[in-house]
Assembly symmetry: C2
Homo-oligomer: 202 residues x 2
Amino acid sequence: MYTGSLRRLIDELGRLPGIGQKSAQRIAFHLLKVPTEDARRLAEAIIEVKERTALCAICLNVADTGELCPICADDRRDTSVLCVVEDPRDIVAVERTSRFSGRYHVLHGALNPLEGVGPEQIRVTELLRRLEPERVQEVILCTNPNLEGEATALYLGRLLAPLGLTVTRIASGLPVGGDLEYADELTLGRALEGRRNVADGS
Amino acid sequence: MYTGSLRRLIDELGRLPGIGQKSAQRIAFHLLKVPTEDARRLAEAIIEVKERTALCAICLNVADTGELCPICADDRRDTSVLCVVEDPRDIVAVERTSRFSGRYHVLHGALNPLEGVGPEQIRVTELLRRLEPERVQEVILCTNPNLEGEATALYLGRLLAPLGLTVTRIASGLPVGGDLEYADELTLGRALEGRRNVADGS
């Protein structure tokens, strides 16, 4: 139905995550309508991100080629605490809380035996190699609270336990502003398990 | 939080229709991960669609630069019936029905006085200019069944009425497989208004 170059663009857009056939069409027609320079800016941004982006040599976060990521380059960050995340996007989520002033380590994945992702497929070796030179005192396991993330945290917890540093796991429980009535039983169960003293009884 | 080129890509992606901040991030990280040639293919498809795509000289559908669209180029199509649509995508929708073998005319919009879209802003002149040379017998007003589309159909109906050709409007009613219970009152009202004889009573 569509001509050659439009067809190709729709196909390429349809390969992007979360973009179905309808969205791909909508975006393609949008690009047809906008000024050429706008479309060209998008095309150039795509090329550029591939050319100029690499992984930070310290934490494996996304960084400009040949440079450290903004967090590792910031010498006000506390190097004794390491927050281990699955993905660079998780760093953004943690940073948004303003509750963490240490550095990160990006695993680039989580253990998933069914899909063939073992410890060798994620950046565990790089994590171990950092602990001594950076004099890390605490490792916070900040992987996702799902099956793969929990398995990864469990694995790393066992791996790091003998090394004599504090290893912690972020809390699971009811989201702030949440509602008991709508909580799933797993989350509520976790919230109960992780209950904390509010009064000493003394 | 993100480095220069990644930030720029996320911003550019976020300008696309239906792409929010989260989707833009997801797509950008996806592009970071895929092989460079895949990302380059997308970038090139964007540039190419701007360079090689123009409007069909007859119906204003999207076409390769300097050529007619596949439908106007097909000499088996009936030139005496013209289906007027708002957007090239609507042609795909009508073609999918396999119920129409005439040609199209793309208005590239619908009347919307509030946003300053009058008859001069959509391709009405081009429509009028086609009627005689192509010996059009029937014009099917196939604009959307919403406020703007109805206004456009009303306007075109009045404009074409004195020219001695058949002017029709697509039917509104319950969608096939729909449910009376969930029909909105406007649609159900239209379905009642447009009711058709199924038995003659004779």
